[in-house]
């Protein structure tokens, strides 16, 4: 299987990465390795923060500058009562308004250049309609461009290509496993 060349990801304001589902986590880690010199707002939709953090640290990725928007923990019944590191918990993946508000709060908190990483647009379409996800993505991209943030969104290959077709027009660069 061919690997995506991620080295020039910093040259684009917005990148959509279309990856095989089984390689997605490895590619996310590779993206973080490339962009980790800047703060990253990581919108976590596949796994909860408690699962992601040890894996990243075990993979040698600096996590000090990663700010998590965890859309999984509370929805899966996890305890979100205590403040934990650089993480804000979203009630559930359907709460796109709250995700946008949280990202905006991070924009205000983090001055200068930064990245937003969305770990799987596919997950959003499991809980929301494609049109809603498409509008959400457009909104995030608009806010990012006004706040010195570059966007890297991941999605999986597969039968749900209509979402990729809908949102690809908003991105400057599409990277796809051949």
């Amino acid at each position: 299987m061919k690997m995506i060349n991620l080295e020039d990801i910093g040259n684009y304001e917005s990148t959509l990465i279309v990856e095989e589902s089984k390689s997605l986590q490895a590619t996310i880690n590779n993206v973080l390795r490339v962009i980790q010199d800047k703060p990253v707002i990581y919108i976590a939709l596949i796994k909860p923060y408690v699962s992601i953090l040890p894996r990243l640290e075990g993979d040698g990725i600096e996590t000090d500058k990663i700010f998590f928007v965890d859309c999984v923990t509370e929805f899966a019944g996890g305890d979100v009562s205590e403040k934990q590191g650089n993480v804000i918990f979203i009630h559930e993946p359907t709460d796109l308004t709250n995700i946008t508000i949280t990202v905006t709060q991070f924009f205000e908190k983090i001055p200068g250049k930064k990245y937003i990483l969305i770990d799987a647009l596919r997950i959003l379409t499991i809980y929301n309609t494609e049109d809603v996800v498409s509008r959400f993505m457009q909104s995030i991209l608009e806010k990012a461009s006004r706040n010195d943030a570059k966007v890297v969104a991941m999605t999986t290959k597969g039968k749900h290509t209509s979402l990729t077709n809908k949102v690809s027009q908003f991105f400057e660069k599409i990277m796809e496993v051949e």
Binding site: S21, L24, T73, A76, G77, G78, R122, I123, I126, T156
Partner: protein, 107 residues
């Protein structure tokens, strides 16, 4: 035959992966239940769940699986999930690959 299947579930797979989905033909699920119970019964940190699609449509089943796996992760447990091969189509299998750490065809 069953001894060979059991060997697929042990050792490094359980050490390295938090969530393992075992995919078996429906007619062999009952045998697999017994074998997997032997492993999980001896280890309280491993949660054993049978994923049953039953009358759920594809998207509801995918949401259910994501929720179940997320609950296991949030509880900081390991999960061994058993799923009938006949319940999976190409899209559900791809989603499973994204949610789980390892998928193993057994039986």
């Amino acid at each position: 035959m069953m001894a060979e299947k059991t060997s697929l579930l042990g050792g490094e797979d359980l050490t390295r992966n938090d969530i393992i989905v075992l995919v078996a033909p429906k007619k062999e699920i009952r045998d697999m239940l017994v074998e997997v119970n032997k492993i999980t019964g001896a280890n309280p940190d491993i949660s054993f769940i049978v994923l049953n699609k039953a009358t759920l449509d594809d998207m509801s089943f995918t949401r259910y699986v994501h929720n179940v796996i997320s609950q296991v992760r949030v509880a900081r447990l390991k999960g061994l999930l058993l799923c009938a091969k006949e319940d999976l189509n190409e899209q559900i299998r791809e989603d499973l690959e994204m949610f789980a750490d390892l998928i193993k065809e057994v039986g």
